[in-house]
Subunit: 202 residues, 3 copies
Amino acid sequence: MVELEVAEIIGTIAFALSGFYVAVKEKLDLLGIFIASFLTALGGGLVRDMLCDRAPYTFTHLLPSILVIAVILLSTLLKLHLKGEIEKKFYFIISDTLGLVSFSISGALIALQAEFNFFGVVLMALVTAVGGGVVRDILLNRVPLLLISEFYGTVSLLVGAILFGFAQFDISGYLPVMVVFAFGVALRLLAYYKQWHLPKIG
Amino acid sequence: MVELEVAEIIGTIAFALSGFYVAVKEKLDLLGIFIASFLTALGGGLVRDMLCDRAPYTFTHLLPSILVIAVILLSTLLKLHLKGEIEKKFYFIISDTLGLVSFSISGALIALQAEFNFFGVVLMALVTAVGGGVVRDILLNRVPLLLISEFYGTVSLLVGAILFGFAQFDISGYLPVMVVFAFGVALRLLAYYKQWHLPKIG
Amino acid sequence: MVELEVAEIIGTIAFALSGFYVAVKEKLDLLGIFIASFLTALGGGLVRDMLCDRAPYTFTHLLPSILVIAVILLSTLLKLHLKGEIEKKFYFIISDTLGLVSFSISGALIALQAEFNFFGVVLMALVTAVGGGVVRDILLNRVPLLLISEFYGTVSLLVGAILFGFAQFDISGYLPVMVVFAFGVALRLLAYYKQWHLPKIG
């Protein structure tokens, strides 16, 4: 599915960018910046592949790592980090959303292939999409945003849940995946601009 | 071994409950509460299965995840978190102990099957039993209690060591495992009420 | 290659020692000290083996764990932690460097065997050499030094990159590996005493 691949590329770039920003803000050196960008963009997939007992995709295909390197080089050359926060700019929100949803879909599809149950599929969507950012936050001693705010991870869980539901009725192929993709993107953007939050207890 | 399975169920519930409490105390939202409960109860087994190169048990069997969900729903409905600390109540200590020992045993038995050596068996017992809580504490930026206090992890190591010893003399089956189980539970309760601690250096 | 094996043994000892120091400084108890030493020395290899889908070397061979136990016992008996910082002493820097370079080489060689690409080989060198220390720092809630300072991780990446380059031209065997080993050790010592740092951005 070309659309998914394009979305994954855009997502990888957005995730690498957000890793770059965090790293510069935390005053990491060049190696630290590389590790933070790389983990944010590709760490989730690495964890997913360990859980699924697959050869790590990132270590057998070149494109993802090349995207990360390109993002770091370009951002450094263009001194992006001096140009103010990108995290609230429209094009960043869109790219980040494309990444969130396409990564969730690829995680869920791989989990379905591995014959995981409902929770496996849903959590593999989550791990693939947000696992990298969480690992980065752990490294940098930050409480992962995922755990305390917003509707972000929930989009990922819902994408996984719907794909699991589809699989129970043998619904698969291009169209259903694209519908889930569009739904996920719309939901995340809506949640972002309406500032939806999950409830807390207590 | 039905007894072990029952102990694992009780343990899963106790671990999920303790994850729930920590999450509410840290003001996580619903997704965060789910992740914290899930990791505390089942994260250790996931790490164990990655190290042992097995399909993750939690993602191929439904019961563990359903227990976690049920714990969260019931605790929320009953507003358990408003009813004071459970962590020192007798029934919680017992349930938690059953979990600690049964998880340690299952970790050690799986490591023996994978033909790990002494250290592999002992550490796999530890990882299965306390790995989930440690991952949760890492996520939440807390220094895992395991590292600074009490006799908790040591019980797990001892259970692993004894089972490894048994295996060297081809002692296996129902009775020996139950003896180890009873020993572990007794040791942990004794350690708790006598407030045993490991020595520090320096 | 006997030289590599000797270097790995020396490295394991140095890494275990540095874990011991950190643990004592953080006032961990005996179990915590064991876990910190063990992870620092052998945690990187465990992560490597999970990523490469291999049975964990540490859990199928006894020597590494025995070295760790011996280091803890001897350090405790000799009260090493009362004799001032070792971390800047010449023999510690040398041993630590031997560990860094030999672990990087073994990580890269295993990644080449698993047919990983350039980034896989380079990162597997890094993970094997410094992954354990990073996991320990995460557990103890410290920002891993790797991310903020010095040339340490870079040596590891360069060792991986050179070995990957060699493999493209079918250069392998005793001599090339020894040349990389000597290069890595020299580079790290030079970087240490000249206080080289990677640049920061911003």
